[in-house]
């Protein structure tokens, strides 16, 4: 939390830019409004209904996983030549969604984009839950998760077997687990002052006890804040290269191989852009209902939604450039397998998927050029859903379409997901929603301390340095 923060200036409001916080808030009303949601108000009906539904869907996933552990991966649609099916598609999709949280909390922090202050908390939570959903797939994708321990991690065993550090798959394990840990630390550090606030102001004793234990005795001392700010800045500086590295390493899983459609240098940048693209779409899908259901339109304003739409437009164009370069390099590289694959994407058995992908990732988001669309919550919500579907299709195209036509026609095959594939995929959506709802019910969804920095009163008016 930098103290050199740019507060929303009056000139900006006059120029037709939406404010970051609606006027009329004081330090006390910010604390009261955000903490009332979790400690004073009862559990809303929509919350209970949503939770029951999401928890039910999550349990379907758990049953499917139980059956998977019992029977093995034969219950999935994967086979040779398509050995990587839904598990990898979903893994890459979820990890990508997880990127927006750290982008908002770290990169926008370093760039002093103070509008991030009201959306970073729940975007970070979204990152954690998305990475949890993603991490599930590498653990279960062999159907034998107890073996994954020594396949994935360097664990000293009497067998004397170690992972192979020249493989991108092992790099991925380190990248994803580091990303999860650093995101969790970042999120927790940001929460501590707010937990202290809840400890001091929650109405019930048991609430004060629980939040008090989590707050660890935080008392807002100036010396503590100096170190806190230093730690926060360092974490932001560390998380920035990290967030760019995670999807880069994920793309290495493909790009380091020799499979046509995977073996390309455009993968790292366009994976990262696609990750941020889908992540912001998920932020929109969460922010739009949260701000109206909890009455937080004065804190998550149209400014946040519009800026996110602009970011989606920009990253979407980078993704479009990535598709164009893939096709161009396949032609220019003069490799007949690469060129065959490009034609196969456009006109092969999965052609509808590819055309749907182009429509939902490239064509539809162009409506964001219009300010009217960027400031309509309905349009934003629908287009964000379209983008998420498009990004899922992109990973499906990359994984399945590249694999189903092997080099020799006798090895060609087809991939159809089974109901267990679907149950686990849909189930992770339930798991994500369950965790998100629990987070909204128990922790402050907007950073109380950082919101106060946005108020004009937070500024120290005069600074007189006359040390005797």
């Amino acid at each position: 939390m930098s103290t050199q923060i740019q507060r929303p200036s009056e000139d900006a409001t006059q120029a037709g830019v939406f404010p970051v916080v609606e006027p009329g808030h004081t330090f006390a009303t910010i604390t009261e409004k955000i903490s009332a949601i979790i400690v004073r108000r009862g559990t809303p009906l929509w919350w209970l209904a949503g939770f029951l539904m999401a928890f039910g869907i999550m349990n379907v996933m758990l049953m499917a996983i139980g059956w998977l552990f019992y029977k093995g991966t034969g219950i999935w649609g994967v086979n040779i030549p398509v050995g990587w099916g839904f598990a990898i598609v979903n893994f890459v999709w979820w990890i990508g969604i997880g990127h927006a949280g750290t982008l908002i909390s770290a990169i926008l922090f370093l760039l002093k984009q103070s509008w991030r202050n009201s959306i970073n908390r729940f975007a970070e939570a979204m990152t954690l839950f998305a990475v949890m959903c993603a991490g599930l797939f590498p653990l279960i994708h062999t159907g034998r998760p107890w073996l994954a321990a020594y396949w994935l991690f360097p664990v000293p065993l009497t067998m004397g077997v170690w992972p192979q550090f020249r493989s991108p798959l092992i790099w991925d394990v380190f990248a994803v687990s580091t990303y999860f840990t650093v995101s969790l630390l970042f999120w927790f550090v940001g929460l501590v002052p707010d937990l202290a606030s809840l400890r001091d102001h929650a109405p019930r004793r048991w609430q004060r006890m629980i939040y008090g234990m989590l707050a660890m005795g935080w008392r807002g001392s100036a010396r503590h804040w100096v170190r806190y700010d230093a730690a926060y800045l360092i974490l932001a500086g560390l998380a920035t290269p990290l967030v760019l590295s995670v999807h880069t390493v994920v793309s290495f899983d493909f790009a380091v191989s020799l499979v046509p459609g995977w073996h390309t240098t455009i993968f790292p940048p366009y994976f990262v852009a696609g990750a941020i693209y889908s992540g912001f779409a998920m932020v929109m899908i969460l922010a739009i209902p949260i701000r109206s259901l909890y009455g937080l339109k004065d804190m998550i304003t149209m400014r946040h939604l519009e800026n996110s739409a602009k970011l989606m437009l920009a990253t979407g164009l980078i993704v479009g450039y990535g598709y164009a370069v893939e096709a161009f390099m396949a032609w220019y590289g003069n490799n007949k397998f690469e060129w065959f694959l490009t034609g196969n994407r456009l006109f092969g058995p999965y052609k509808y998927f590819y055309w749907a992908l182009l429509a939902s990732n490239i064509v539809v988001p162009q409506v964001f050029w219009s300010k009217k669309v960027r400031t309509s919550t309905f349009c934003l919500f629908i287009i964000s859903c379209v983008i998420l579907v498009g990004m899922w299709l992109e990973r499906f195209i990359i994984v399945v379409v590249s694999l189903h036509r092997d080099f020799v026609p006798s090895a060609w095959g087809h991939y159809t997901p089974t109901r267990y594939d679907w149950a686990i995929f849909i189930g992770t959506l339930g798991m994500f929603t369950t965790f998100m709802l629990l987070f909204l019910r128990t922790l402050p969804a907007i950073s109380i301390a950082e919101m106060k920095l946005l108020l004009p009163e937070a500024e120290v008016k005069h600074v007189e340095v006359e040390h005797a």
């Binding site: 939390m1 005795g217 170190r227 560390l238 008016k461």
Partner: protein, 178 residues
């Protein structure tokens, strides 16, 4: 004159500006064992009480270098010494392939040292602190801005310090018991 039964004197101010002005006056008066408490970071307040630097970046640097060294040592030991396997004719010590794990563990160790270092230097977790004995202090996490002069300060003089604080036009002054 020391008051062993008293932690110090606590004054409350209504705005960050008043807090910083008061802290500057207290510092100018010669008090050094002082601290301010606020619901959000105020850079001017920490400057006013004469606290600028933190050793945290050094701790993070050491943590990061430890991560880097252990990542390379682990990969070298596994791939060259304990389990050398010929993969695609590449050398056992294929250091370019080790860069990513080195990077990840550097970031991981740095981040963990930053968080643990920050809490350790702050002396947290600390379940008890005397300032919480003043009922009004709960607002330090909401909209109250507090200044404390601790009894261990050589210039601290019980009542005199209390009445000095009252001259700074605070919203209230309290004796902080242990």
């Amino acid at each position: 004159m020391k008051h062993p039964s008293v932690f110090g004197y606590l004054a409350e101010f209504e705005t960050p500006t008043e807090l910083v002005e008061a802290a500057e006056k207290v510092y100018a008066e010669g008090y050094r064992k002082i601290d301010t408490y606020s619901p959000f970071p105020i850079e001017a307040a920490s400057e006013a009480i004469g606290f600028h630097h933190s050793r945290l970046p050094l701790i993070v640097l050491i943590g990061g270098l430890t991560g880097l060294a252990s990542a390379f040592a682990m990969q070298y030991w596994v791939s060259v010494i304990d389990y050398p396997i010929n993969v695609g004719g590449r050398p056992f010590n294929s250091w370019p392939s080790f860069i990513i794990v080195c990077f990840e563990l550097t970031v991981l160790f740095s981040a963990i040292s930053a968080v643990i270092g920050m809490f350790a230097l702050n002396g947290l977790p600390m379940p008890y602190h005397p300032v919480f004995n003043v009922q009004r202090f709960i607002d330090a996490s909401k909209d109250g801005f507090f200044l404390v002069i601790e009894a261990t300060d050589p210039k601290f003089d019980g009542e005199a310090t209390g009445s000095f604080l009252k001259t700074l036009s605070p919203a209230g002054v309290w004796e902080v018991p242990y």
